[in-house]
């Protein structure tokens, strides 16, 4: 392993590769920051550029773009509540309120430190555990995945704190409905496609995120023209405030970061779950861990509420490289694009990559450390300058958001129909937003819905229709008990409080 690390360092520290890390991180940050352009689009745009590179250089560039985009995505989540990256949706829950309180610099600093810590800690995990971790993730079966999805949905409770529980649940149902459009993944039967070929592959996740976040946010700003928050928003964009953290905030982060890194990394390693699910789970988990006083602040600018998802989504990025590099299984949509690029380089990621191409395996891991340092520099001292990208007047910003979301979606599919559907969803989402319906539960349900159904049905198929799969294996029992505990705890607490 030492030998591998040395080979990796040697490759990663070559001038060309260092340059690639910097270019990747920089362009990733910019692209991730712009609402409408996520890591998938960013990496897809890099594929033609990297043709002719040697595989490690190409992969290093793309990895840089990937975590750069996740880093940069948090900036737009915090400053304008328009996450460029699905993985940073959860960051906007507390980051945006904090920015509106005039503490944008602080929120950005918390996000940058957490991302750095999450990325670095999990890169160490990756280094130590990559060869053996594939075994852990392989012992997960469909019932366990099903349990994990339910666990993810319990995080909905976190969004219903404003007494909007009913509205949040309605959005969950809407999200599940949207997820059921398209070909059923088990039997190939089209559902809710209205005989329209464009719907038969389902609604793209990027499209729904862009429509319900970037676009509807921009449209809502127009409708709420006389909204008093407008002034605050303009201030928060041009004057970011101090980026210094006080002792209390540092203390909060020190407790949050380790547990969120571990959670994020594990979720990232699991095939099928990625940075998005990790950030939602970490947010939900953090809310259950903190004391009541802090819990009240969730959704209103909590330090923990920013640190947890930011740590977890970066940790999940590193984690998702484990199944990609050791098994050739993409852990997320983004790593799926990278898998395609790797195959284009003539590299078959899989259990044997570790032996056949150790220099690729190790140099990517080593370049992550370099990338994290580059990103910390980009995102802390330089953030006021880079964030100028966002400090564009509203009259420019809104058309820009609309432009990038539309082109971003179009670049993924080259399908006009997607544009119409996106506008339609955005209009509905805008109306819902104006009536205070929360969007995050919809996204969460949309992500988890399809996976949950698939894993449930597969579990039932394997157990010949018996529900005993829920308690047949220790791992499943542990997950199910965790869910019961979390839900039970919430119910118990609400009763307890009423008595007081």
């Amino acid at each position: 392993m030492i030998e591998g690390i040395l080979i990796g360092l040697q490759t990663a520290l070559s001038f060309k590769n260092l340059l690639m890390v910097m270019i990747g991180c920089f362009s990733g940050t910019i692209i991730g920051m712009l609402p409408g352009l996520g890591p998938m689009t960013a990496i897809a745009l890099m594929i033609p550029i990297t043709y002719g590179f040697d595989p490690s250089t190409g992969l290093i560039l793309m990895a840089g773009v990937y975590y750069g985009a996740v880093f940069g995505g948090s900036t737009s989540s915090i400053l304008i509540n328009a996450p460029g990256v699905p993985g940073t949706v959860a960051t906007s829950f507390d980051g945006y309120p904090m920015a509106q309180q005039g503490k944008a610099g602080k929120a950005l600093a918390i996000a940058a430190y957490s991302s750095f810590a999450g990325g670095t800690i999990s890169a160490i995990f990756l280094l130590i555990a990559a060869p053996s971790l594939s075994l852990v993730s392989l012992s997960f079966r469909s019932p366990d995945y099903f349990g994990l999805m339910i666990l993810g949905l319990t995080a909905v409770a976190a969004f219903s704190s404003k007494g909007n529980f009913l509205k949040a649940m309605m959005m969950v149902v809407l999200g599940l409905m949207l997820a059921s459009v398209g070909q059923d993944t088990l039997s190939d039967i089209p559902r809710f496609t209205f005989d329209n070929m464009n719907l038969s592959d389902g609604i793209s996740f990027v499209l729904v995120v862009m429509a319900t976040f970037a676009m509807s946010e921009a449209l809502t700003i127009i409708f709420k023209a006389n909204d008093p928050t407008k002034a605050a928003k303009q201030i928060s964009l041009s004057q970011l405030g101090s980026i210094k953290l006080d002792k209390d905030e540092t203390k909060k982060m020190v407790t949050t970061i380790p547990r969120s890194s571990v959670l994020g990394f594990i979720i990232g390693v699991l095939p099928g779950a990625g940075a998005t699910i990790a950030s939602f789970l970490a947010y939900g988990m953090e809310r259950n861990f903190v004391n009541d006083e802090e819990k009240q602040k969730f959704g209103k600018g909590s330090v923990n509420g920013i640190a947890a998802p930011e740590t977890a989504n970066n940790a999940a990025c590193s984690g998702s490289f484990v199944p990609l590099l050791t098994l050739g299984i993409p852990g997320s949509g983004t790593t799926a694009v990278m898998l395609g690029a790797l195959l284009g380089f003539g590299i078959q990621p899989g259990p044997r990559l570790y032996q056949t191409n150790p220099e690729i395996f190790w140099s990517v891991i080593m370049s992550m450390y370099i990338g994290m340092v580059v990103l910390l520099i980009l995102n802390l001292p330089l953030i006021p300058y880079i964030a100028r990208v966002l400090a564009t007047p509203r009259t420019f910003l809104i058309p820009l958001i609309l432009f990038f979301s539309l082109t971003g979606v179009y670049l993924m599919s080259f399908n006009n129909f997607d544009i119409y559907m996106m506008i339609g969803i955005a209009v509905v989402a805008t109306i819902l937003r104006l009536y205070d319906f929360p969007m995050p539960p919809l996204i969460l349900a949309f992500v988890l819905g399809g996976l949950m159904e698939e894993n449930l049905r597969r579990s039932l198929l394997i157990s010949d229709g018996s529900w005993s799969f829920m308690w047949d294996r220790p791992l499943t029992i542990v997950i199910m008990l965790t869910i019961i505990f979390i839900v039970g705890w919430q119910i118990y607490k609400s009763f307890f409080k009423k008595k007081l």
Binding site: T185, L186, D188, M197, P271, I329, A336, P351, N415
Partner: protein
């Protein structure tokens, strides 16, 4: 005299013009590939890989690509059929046959179904055999063990595959069980939405056998044991892997990938592309592309390809009726 000279000059011009026209219409030096799926998929890799080899080896001056996803490839197919673009070929594979049979949404147009008959088959270029694999620590050493276990208790053998019921992965396993005298409809097939996930399912122990393409499991041979492939004889890249045929189950199935032209393309052009696709397979440029993708060459041109498609349609229709998917 003067008039004659005029006639002569115009004749010369006409000849020059005519030859220049015919040379542009007969030399295929540019090809546009329509890909019915997104970037990074199997069709995408086949089109881009083939285009790369064709240009690098000097058969083409340039190749361009266009991804047109939707309807499981049906959108691209109907585009080729209806718009009849010039100098354009479509990449397709076994699903073209299967989806026509199952009347897959994207392949249904009005009351009819789009199939390979609506386009001109040029050639099948590469193929992948079906494979049945078990985990390294599985008690099953060969396909007979699996069949025996199945006959004892049909529920004890769960078969994983990387796609829906009625897909290629399902059919490969079903064919093998049918040949072994079992009712393929009684075999529990557990669908996953990607080959990699199905492999993970097998390794986690929730399924006992995996039925998929050989290319899908080649890279995982240190974790799985391939107990049978649907090839007529053992393949060069994996000489230790037995065929189902040598174990007494005469199952042959090849997942082909090939190219199709719109009906409007002149036959002479189709012939030229067909020949080009065959000749390129002898070049080192192709070999480089083939090797890194672990493809198996199955050059299957023109009429042979056409009758192969006819045969596959017939065989698969029969099997799918038995499976109850149509």
């Amino acid at each position: 005299m003067f008039n004659n000279l005029k006639k002569l000059i115009s004749l010369v011009f006409a000849t020059v013009l005519l030859t220049s026209i015919s040379s542009t219409s007969f030399a295929v030096d540019k090809l546009h590939f329509i890909i019915g799926g997104g970037a990074g998929g199997g069709w995408d890799g086949t089109a881009r890989g083939t285009g790369e080899a064709l240009t690098k080896a000097g058969f083409l001056k340039s190749a361009s690509y266009e991804n047109m996803s939707g309807g499981g490839g049906g959108k691209a197919l109907s585009y080729i059929i209806n718009s009849k673009p010039e100098g354009t070929v479509l990449v397709q594979s076994t699903p073209l046959v299967l989806r026509s049979i199952t009347r897959h949404k994207g392949y249904v147009k009005g009351s009819g179904v789009l199939s390979y008959k609506d386009v001109k088959p040029i050639a099948g270029v590469i193929g992948d055999y079906g494979a049945i694999a078990v985990a390294k620590n599985s008690p099953y050493k060969n396909f007979k063990d699996v069949v025996d276990a199945y006959k004892k208790n049909p529920k004890s053998v769960k078969m994983a595959g990387g796609s829906v019921r009625g897909s290629m992965d399902h059919l490969i396993g079903a064919l093998a069980f049918q040949e072994a005298g079992a009712n393929p409809n009684d075999v529990v097939y557990v669908p996953y939405d990607a080959g990699g996930k199905a492999l993970a399912g097998l390794l986690s122990g929730e399924t006992q056998i995996l039925s998929t393409g050989l290319g899908e499991v080649m890279g995982a041979r240190d974790q799985v044991r391939i107990i049978g492939i649907t090839a007529p004889k053992r393949v060069g890249d994996a000489p230790e892997v037995p065929t189902l045929k040598e174990q007494g189950y005469d199952v042959q199935f090849v997942n082909w990938r090939g190219f199709f032209a719109p009906k409007s393309m002149p036959s002479s052009d189709v012939k030229k592309i067909e020949k080009m696709l065959g000749d390129v397979q002898k070049t080192p440029e192709w070999e480089a592309v083939r090797k890194r993708n672990a493809w198996v060459n199955i050059y299957n041109p023109g009429r042979k390809f056409d009758s192969f498609l006819k045969g596959q349609t017939k065989e698969m229709t029969k099997l799918m009726k038995k499976l109850g998917v149509i």
